[in-house]
């Protein structure tokens, strides 16, 4: 009797085939995502979850005090310029006011740079997610896309003005983004314009001003053109906003920064409990007995004309321990249970000043002076004469911007830089510490270490 192997082989083969069929490895290991979290594919499935994702952008921006777009963009450039100074020392923040920043400064890295790019990541993931989505209605898709494009433009505007050339991150692929070099500032501006033009096309004129609207995008675009020296474009967009009629200057200076102010073009509502506007929280001391952390520089105090109502309404001076401290008092609430002041990003007064500067640069002195006088009149000051030269007119605009927009959103710091007046104004004031290279903040050291394609700004190597 011999062993007949074929039977065995047959059985083994059939068994093996059964095993393989029972396995189908790949399909077996596909799982559903965890249900308390969403993955990218499920976020943009419908209108409400897409709206939550965009809300997430706003909440994230409003969640940290002294951060990018939430007070940090007002405070740090204010310290770097000639607006405010600390009344006690703090090694990190003193580097801003003495213009001696280092690449390892934590505020430069965490509060500004890192925060900015985390918001940009959120914007990018929303933009790509909405574009790919089939479940979100067109109406919502357009509105939300326009909103986050506006936010992305705002982020890049501040980044390019704080740091100069910056990496232009437009996708969510970290492998690609991790090795990006810096893009020339001009390219960043091109992208900002494109985002805002797209936002203008996609957004409507929503009556609420707590999310970006078409007019908000137009107002920001007016500022962008001003910074780029595109005078007629700047004038055009500022005029659109001014002429629309939706926004009116508040007559009472004390109500300009209230959440129901009629001159607010765009503002973010606070999300942290008890917190109102970030600047209120930063500049106003918590109690009458407390020393203000930041005081207004003497040069700014002296820059006010006599009788300027803005000095009495927007600055508070307190005597404390034999000294007097003046601090920004545009926002009037340190904290309160139900907020009455929001984080105002764009307001009408700036549009008048944008148009004035644009007009002056195009030789329309009369038009420029008219716009300046709108602002001066409200401040209780006499009108300036239109019989001035272009240069005098531009200096008048600079002075008016300095007073009207002090301690707001780094306007003063950026104005001095873009008009090439920083060296002339800050050089004598800041003394030997001042170097022309200080106009740009350093690229954070840890970024240079993790992305070898980045390089440092001059003066910080």
């Amino acid at each position: 009797m011999l062993v007949n192997g074929s039977g065995v082989v047959k059985h083994v083969t059939i068994g093996l085939m059964l095993l393989m069929a029972a396995t189908g490895c790949k399909k077996l290991v596909e799982v559903n995502p965890p249900d308390d979290q969403l993955v990218e594919g499920t976020v943009f499935l419908n209108d409400s979850s897409a709206q939550s994702a965009v809300n997430g952008v706003y909440i994230k921006i409003m969640s940290n005090s002294k951060y990018f777009l939430n007070g940090g963009t007002s405070l740090y450039p204010g310290l770097s310029a000639d607006e405010v100074i600390r009344s006690s020392t703090s090694p990190g923040e003193d580097q801003f006011s003495s213009n001696t920043l280092t690449a390892i400064n934590q505020s430069v890295y965490v509060n500004l740079w890192k925060a900015a790019y985390s918001y940009i990541y959120q914007c990018n993931i929303c933009i790509t997610g909405l574009a790919k989505s089939t479940g979100v209605s067109d109406e919502v898709k357009n509105r939300l896309t326009g909103e986050v494009q506006f936010v992305r433009a705002l982020c890049y505007f501040y980044l390019v003005n704080l740091y100069g050339d910056v990496p232009l991150v437009l996708s969510t692929n970290a492998d690609v983004n991790a090795v990006l070099p810096r893009s020339a500032a001009a390219n960043v501006y091109t992208q900002i314009e494109a985002d805002l033009q797209s936002a203008i096309a996609l957004l409507t004129n929503d009556p609420a001003n707590t999310t970006p609207t078409r007019l908000a995008a137009q107002a920001l675009l007016a500022r962008i053109y001003l910074y780029e020296g595109e005078w007629s474009q700047a004038e055009t967009y500022a005029s659109i906003v001014i002429n629309d009629g939706k926004y009116k200057l508040q007559n009472d200076l004390n109500t300009v920064f209230k959440s129901n102010s009629t001159e607010t073009i765009f503002q973010w509502a606070p999300v942290l409990p008890n917190v109102n506007a970030p600047e209120g929280n930063i500049f106003i001391p918590p109690s009458a007995a407390a020393r203000p952390v930041y005081k207004i520089c003497t040069v700014l105090m002296n820059a006010f004309e006599t009788g300027d109502l803005r000095k009495s309404s927007w600055i508070k001076t307190v005597p404390l321990g034999g000294q007097t401290y003046s601090y920004p008092y545009k926002y009037k609430v340190y904290n309160s249970l139900s907020p009455t002041e929001y984080n105002i990003v764009l307001r009408l007064a700036e549009q008048y000043l944008i148009r004035a500067e644009a007009r002056a640069n195009q030789g329309d002195i009369a038009g420029a002076v008219a716009d300046i006088n709108v602002i001066r009149t409200r401040a209780g000051l006499p009108p300036v004469s239109s019989a001035v030269s272009k240069d005098q007119c531009l200096l008048a605009v600079e002075q008016e911007r300095r007073i009207e927009l002090f301690s707001e959103w780094g306007h003063r710091w950026f104005d001095l830089k873009r008009t090439n007046r920083a060296d002339a104004v800050l050089g004598p004031l800041k003394g030997t510490n001042w170097q022309s290279a200080d106009k740009l903040y350093p690229i954070p050291q840890s970024e240079l270490e993790t992305d070898v394609h980045l390089d440092q700004n001059p003066g910080y190597e």
Binding site: M1, N4, V8, H11, V12, G15, L16, L18, L19, M20, A22, T23, C25, K26, L28, V29, E30, V31, P33, P34, D35, D36, Q37, L38, V39, E40, S49, Q51, S52, A53, V54, N55, G56, V57, Y58, I59, K60, M62, S63, Y109, K114, Y117, Y121, Q122, N124, I125, V169, T172, A174, D175, N177, A178, V271, L272, S446, E447, E449, T450, D451, L454
Partner: protein, 1093 residues
Amino acid sequence: MAKVLFAICLVAVPVFVQAQHITISVDNVPLKRVMKLVEGHSQYVFAYRTEYLQHAGHVSVHVKNGSIDQIMKQALKGSGLNYLIVGNMITVRPDTTAATATAISRNTAIAPFEGHVMNDAGLPLSGVSVLDNNSLNGTVTKDDGSFALRGVQSKTVLTFSSVGYEPSLLEVKDKTPVTVRLKPLLRDLDETVVIGYGKTSKRLTTGSVYKLSQAEIASQPVSNPLGILEGRVPGLLITQSNGLPGSTYKIQLRGQSSIGIVPGQLPPNDPLFIIDGVPYAPNNNSVQTVPSGSALGQSGRSPFSLINPADIDHIEVLKDADATAIYGSRGANGVVLITTKRGKVGPPVFNLNINSGFSNITRYPDMMNTQQYVKMRREALDNDGLTPNNTNAADLLLWDTTRYTDFRKLLIGGKAMTSNVQLSMAGGSNRFQYYLGTTYHYETTVFPGDLSNKRLAAHFNGHYQSKDSSLNITTSIIYTGDNNKSILKDLTSVVNLPPNAPDLYDAAGKFNWQPQDVAIINPMALLQQAYDAKTTNMLGNVDLSYRILKGLIFKTSLGYNRVQSDEIGLVPGSTLNPYTTPDPTGTSYFGKMVLHSWIVEPQLEYTRYFGKGKITALVGSTVQMQTSNITTTTATDFASDDLLRNRGDAGKLSTEELNTEYKYGGVFARLTGNYHDTYILNLTGRADGSSRFGPGKQVGNFWAAGAGWIFSNEPFIKENIPLLSYGKLRGSYGITGNDQIGDYKYLDQWQRVSYNYLGSSGIVPIQLADSNYSWEVNRKLEVAADLGVLKDHLLLSVAWYRNRTGNQLIAYTLPAITGFNKYAAKNSPALVENTGWEIMLQTKNKPNRNFQWNGMVSATIPRNKLLSFPNLNNSTYAGLLVPGQSLSVSKGLTYTGVDPITGLFTFQDKDKNGTISYPDDYRIIGNLGLKWYGGIQSDLQYKGWRLSLFVEYRNQKAYSYLYTIYNNGTPPGTILANQPAMVLDRWQKTNHEGALQQFSTGVKDSVNAAISRFTQSNGIIDDASFWRLRTIEFSYSVPCGWLRKTCMKRSRVYIQAQNLFTLTRYKGIDPETQNILALPPLRTIAAGVDISF
């Protein structure tokens, strides 16, 4: 086709198949060749010891259509061997009677000769072969152990033999029936060892497998199976986290292999746990979910507190690639196989085992008494230049400075009671065996009050075998209910209350929170903060195997496991200090966890013999699914503390839910070749997929090769080194994977944020994922030698291993421009190496029938090394890891003693720049790992008396008690914090010397800075080596003769102790747990009786 017919015909024929006709015609071939021919052409199989056939010459057999007897008689003629046919098994053995047969008188036939065979426990043994050495007639015992043999003549010698027992000889006298007792074989090399999807023996295995036997399990009064393994297995390091019932154990096999995705926190490299073929759903992860935690501490409650040690028959630990590769991506950190008890053939045996005992703390430092405390506080105030006032010295000015409470005694000085009642019934016939067991375990704590852990466990195991043994079904069901009543905080953490603290209750019997100026913790209030966990564990498994053809078996294992935990944590408002929490209201915490796991594993196994060789092939697949549902609720705003247990009465509920899913599938194959029991080769391969990886990365391939050479079977060794009874060289190499990084790490994830934007909710991305990551790959190499001398009475096993884990899953630093700082996980080429020696020496001696001594010494010398970490300096691991060093090295300052002038800790200024700063003054200050560890086991038996003990030893460095003291915010001198009396050895103004720096109330920057540096220096690292008498058991078994008068089959009384004493130079608390603010492992002493009837 003829073959298949033959097989069918066999099924119909009962066990004694002697009528087959076989044709064999061979000339001058080895005897083994004849045996193989018989095996190949009939259903018979042979059983023999290799050495018996060594001297058998060549034989010639010519039988045509003859019986097996004809063949065997021809084959064994003149060989000095005889044979015995039982069922289809032919046992070949030396013919011991050949010389004496003629001398035995052939008259006085007694027929039939009857008797019983039983084991030393008095249980009947079936299937024992009984051979009449004279006539060569034989039979086997029945289910009840009885046999009847005809034609036995007086003075004939009968041989009784059975696998696993020593053969026994009996000279026939006139008396019948007789009772024969068989003793288990002392040699344990042939003991069955369970491996992945199969079985082998210690003798033949090519892989590294350690088996923990029933005896070692039963001798320990420990309620957690991991506690039982502690110290026993070379290469397996187990550390208890806390001395409370239900606490977790950290377990690590052959070192830390992963760097982990959280820098500075080495991940738990837990082995894979499989109970009766079912992966244990929680593995070694805590089953505690209640948001407020429990006294058990951060590591939570051990899932193994739901496994009843009394249900466990044995535990196998699989270590090297050869043993673990068949588990694929789950086997990187080793595999622990737990097998529960099974019934044995025989009449029903009832067993009752009752024990009871107590536990208490043994190592806890003396705390200062009131006099010392007051002195310390005054000195601290004085050092700080402070005038005592009601704020900085309330304990000195407002409290009675003569009052004394020993909080150590009050809070953790109690006796914890422990009781166990275990009842089982087991038995069965040849075809069906059953085991039914139930155990009740009760354990209290050393804390005051009525806290306990109760566990009720039931276990059923049934095994069915069809008549022709082609179908085997085994089922095993475990059900455990556990109720852990504890508190939310370990009272050990408040043992440092000031010894002059006022009465804990006021005159009205309420908690005393006086004085108002001082935020005191009232430990009696902490006792009211209840933690109550009810947990159930259901584990069921069916193993089915069917022999399709001779040699071909289809097997499948179907398993299910469900673990459910319901927990409550209560913080009544009355237990909060009303002066620090004005208007305190109660909060309750609810946690619910349900874990499900099921697994199906169909397999085919084929065995075939070729001449002296044997080949076994196994192919199979695994489909596993696991889900986890966790709901945690915090309930507040109750009208009264009395309503806390009812969440319906809460004014406010906040609930979080987490549901996850894990799927796993694979195919595996194994090919084992065995030539002449001398050369063994084992090849394993596995392809599997895990849902823990992203698309395209889910499937991986793993393999291993193992080889063994049992050189003691070689004739030249036998002739030249007769002393050597066993010698094996084995080696293995292979690749396993590690998918233990948690679920969903490959997905970009979003989560709801707690703030709203103008009333509408928002979600934000919380994780940036690299979907391209894959398993950590563990390349394991092992070389080992096993030697046995003096007939295996002395066994030495030496193994060297080298595991290299690459493709490390680490957090990967990204520039912030990507929106995140890091990828959740990404593979890095960083390579971690674990090498080590594992040495084990065992001896089994039985000089005479009354005395027996078994001993074991084991030692493990592990070494952990980070071989490489590309780009380490740019990663978040930069300050933590050092290439070329162990993962557990610590970087810090060099402590240089207390400055006699300033009275402050001083440190070496390495760069001599005048300041102590990071990183230039930092160096490697120590390796907080183990240098070597092991155990010593001794088992002494004289008649019924037995003394067994186990000593565990470790050589290690660890944080000293000073780390806790200086790192918890209340260094010596701080208000309201008592200290171990040891800290009195400090610098004082008067004598300018002392081991520790000046006392301070914590207001001096210079003192605080020195403390902060001290906790980052080698000043807080100490030698934590210890020798611990882990287990000692003393027992007495009542002699069988006495028992025969009762209905009892066996009776044993015993006394057991765990952690009886520890030898260590480590100061302060226990060298194992090392945390002065956590309850150390307890000493347990228990006594019991164990009766079978």
